[in-house]
């Protein structure tokens, strides 16, 4: 019999089978965005790294990749924040407390929380992109002394579409965290900035030699944010983005998430800008 190709040593997982977990809380964040808190106690808590995602399964409907938006330091609650936009996510956002969802994961790469130790963190989020970055913010604030400045810049459409608004206020209220918000348009009583994220970057001075930027949002927003950051002197190696592609397996075997030579599910979602800036410029890749 011909020998199978020998896998690299180390643990290998076979995980096309979801684990069913119960919805413990449903938080309606915005009209089209819901946070689902799953009780992971039956499986002894759920460990993940900031930036990783799960394949979430809704019975009889299908499965979608969703970033984990909860606190990595509190593994009991497994938290995802979902926008009702597709065939699966729309009914998924309708689930009630006590319903069950299937979970496979965690999959993918993490924000470089270790590499960034001792550096200033510049966290730039757009729209729902704040959800995959929230675990990084939790991590940084929990290990606050490990980092220099912690700057959170958030761009969204309008003041009424600010995700995690209460938390943004809480973080802003800390003496050791800089938070600023920019929106595309606002009523005149809005106190934040109005304009694009790169304009907001110009309002901050940061040390390009000791800053690590983590950027997540719509791809076009990440493209122009990353370019603006390099223009401000940040090396591409210090900029990290989270790439979004179609995924059916989450583990590199279904082929859907290819992004040039990479698989967004296993080489990403979090990728370093110097590795992908050329790919980001190729249309329809």
């Amino acid at each position: 019999m011909v020998e199978l190709w020998t896998p690299p040593p180390g643990e290998r997982a076979h995980t096309m089978v979801p684990r069913m977990l119960r919805v413990d809380r449903v938080i309606r964040e915005l009209p089209d965005i819901v946070t689902l808190v799953l009780d992971s106690a039956p499986m002894g808590g759920f460990r993940f790294g900031p930036g990783q995602f799960n394949m979430l399964y809704l019975f009889g409907t299908g499965e979608v990749p969703i970033s984990i938006s909860g606190n990595p330091v509190e593994p009991g609650d497994l938290v995802h924040t979902i926008r009702a936009v597709g065939q699966v996510t729309r009914p998924m956002c309708q689930v009630k407390r006590g319903d069950m969802l299937g979970v496979r994961g965690p999959f993918g790469t993490e924000w470089p929380m270790d590499d960034a130790r001792g550096k200033d963190l510049l966290i730039v989020a757009g729209g729902l992109g704040l959800a995959p970055l929230r675990p990084a913010i939790y991590h940084a604030l929990h290990h606050r002394s490990a980092y220099g400045r912690v700057i959170v810049l958030y761009g969204t459409r309008a003041p009424d579409s600010i995700l995690f608004e209460d938390e943004l206020h809480t973080w802003r209220g800390r003496f050791d965290c800089e938070v600023d918000i920019t929106v595309d348009r606002a009523p005149t009583d809005f106190r934040g900035h109005v304009g694009v994220v790169p304009a907001l970057l110009d309002r901050f001075s940061f040390d390009p030699d000791r800053t690590v930027a983590m950027v997540c949002g719509p791809e076009i927003m990440m493209r122009f944010t990353a370019r603006a950051l390099t223009k401000k002197g940040l090396p591409r190696e210090a900029i990290w983005l989270s790439v979004e592609r179609s995924m059916k397996c989450g583990m590199g075997v279904c082929g859907h998430c290819q992004f040039g030579p990479t698989f967004a599910c296993k080489d990403g979602p979090v990728m370093r800008y110097d590795h992908i800036f050329r790919l980001l410029d190729i249309r329809e890749i």
């Binding site: 019975f59 936009v85 082929g255 329809e284």
Partner: protein, 379 residues
């Protein structure tokens, strides 16, 4: 020396045509399903081969871009053709398979993994190109930190009874890809079909399991004449091979030319029908879908073949990342002949030529790969 020493890995011997029938019988009797070439609907497909009568006796296949015909050879050859539209992947990476079943009971959902019902397999008539493809899929589906467990279970007990290619087609280019036509490893037994002076097979033992099998068969020692006949037969495949693909610099060239005008040129011909991905022996893309029973209480998660040529393939909320045929063809070709190297350490094409033959408009991967990034064309 009438009694032969036990056959070992590397041994060569002669098997008669009836001996091949005996081999088939023994494989089935041992609980193994033999999958090999059978004629169906005017094509050589893959299916159960119980006796040598099931094999495509005296037939060959004529290949061209968008053209495939069976023709009589005028002899008794059992493997006198090249390849059909089926690749052996369909026996291991199944076109459609249930992976999970879920049952809703009130607000609870119970999960039952679908354990693969696997039967030991023998793949008969595997050419060098197809053997290389099996190796490539093994690496893709079992080589990473995660494995496709269904594939792995089905792959675990597969005998490869290869056939050395003595009949290449005009669409073939395995020599360019370094995968054939001669197969030197990756098989349990390899047969070379010899037609004259008598119809017989030169058998090479490629593995301990192959040796065990060989020792159950009536094999006779190989002669210098047999070896030279086999060499001549294999040489024919090399000379018949109709196509060439220059692989030097190909990986870089394709990745560096995403905006080449030739992509649009192909897109104007490509129907985006996905035939090339279905017949390709290395294409591995799959999707998952849910099927529920009429009560709505039982859902089955099905994995089935998918293709990067479908618009839905690269759907991200709101729309497809690759809405144009140009982008989809570029994705397929660039993956196969370029980014596969970055991902898995080898090219993803074995040179079997199926995609050329079974493309309804005859798009030729070797010609397209050559044209992309070529110096400006005149006229």
């Amino acid at each position: 020396m009438e009694s032969h020493a036990p056959w070992q890995v590397g041994s060569k011997a002669i098997l008669s045509v009836t001996g091949l029938g005996d081999l088939l019988g023994r494989l089935w009797a041992g609980g193994r399903q033999v999958v090999g070439p059978v004629v169906r609907d005017g094509a050589i497909c893959l299916g159960p081969v119980r006796t040598i009568a099931d094999l495509p006796k005296g037939l060959t296949d004529e290949h061209g871009p968008g053209t495939y015909r069976l023709k009589p050879r005028g002899d008794e050859a059992l493997f006198g053709f090249t390849v059909g539209q089926h690749a052996f992947k369909r026996s291991i990476l199944l076109p459609e398979v249930a992976l999970v079943q879920l049952r809703r009971k009130g607000r609870d959902v119970e999960v039952e993994p679908a354990t693969p019902k696997t039967q030991p397999l023998a793949l008969l008539g595997v050419r060098a190109c197809d053997a290389a493809a099996l190796g490539i899929q093994d690496k893709v589906l079992c080589g990473g930190p995660y494995a496709d467990s269904d594939y792995e279970a089905r792959r675990a007990d597969v005998l490869v009874i290869a056939v050395q290619c003595t009949n290449a087609a005009s669409t073939c280019f395995c020599a360019s890809m370094g995968t054939g036509p001669h197969l030197s490893n990756g098989f349990d037994l390899a047969l070379t079909e010899l037609l004259s002076p008598t119809h017989r097979f030169l058998v090479e033992v490629g593995s301990p399991a192959g040796a065990t099998l060989a020792n159950q068969l009536e094999l006779t020692p190989v002669s210098e004449g047999d070896l030279s006949d086999a060499k001549t037969a294999e040489q024919a495949a090399l000379t018949q091979m109709g196509r060439h693909l220059e692989t030097a610099g190909l990986r870089e060239k394709l990745q560096q030319n995403p905006d080449d005008s030739h992509w649009e040129n192909v897109a104007n011909r490509c129907l985006s029908c996905a035939n090339c991905t279905m017949v390709c022996p290395t294409c591995f893309c799959t999707t998952m879908e849910d099927r529920t029973d009429l009560t709505g209480d039982i859902a089955t998660r099905i994995r089935r073949y998918d293709s990067c040529f479908s618009e839905a393939f690269a759907y991200v909320h709101g729309g497809s990342v690759r809405p144009t045929v140009r982008a989809r063809y570029r994705q397929w070709l660039t993956h196969k002949l370029s980014t596969w190297v970055d991902q898995f350490g080898s090219l993803g094409c074995v040179g079997c030529g199926r995609c050329i033959t079974f493309c309804p408009v005859g798009i030729d991967i070797t010609a397209e790969a050559k044209a992309v990034g070529a110096p400006a064309r005149t006229g």
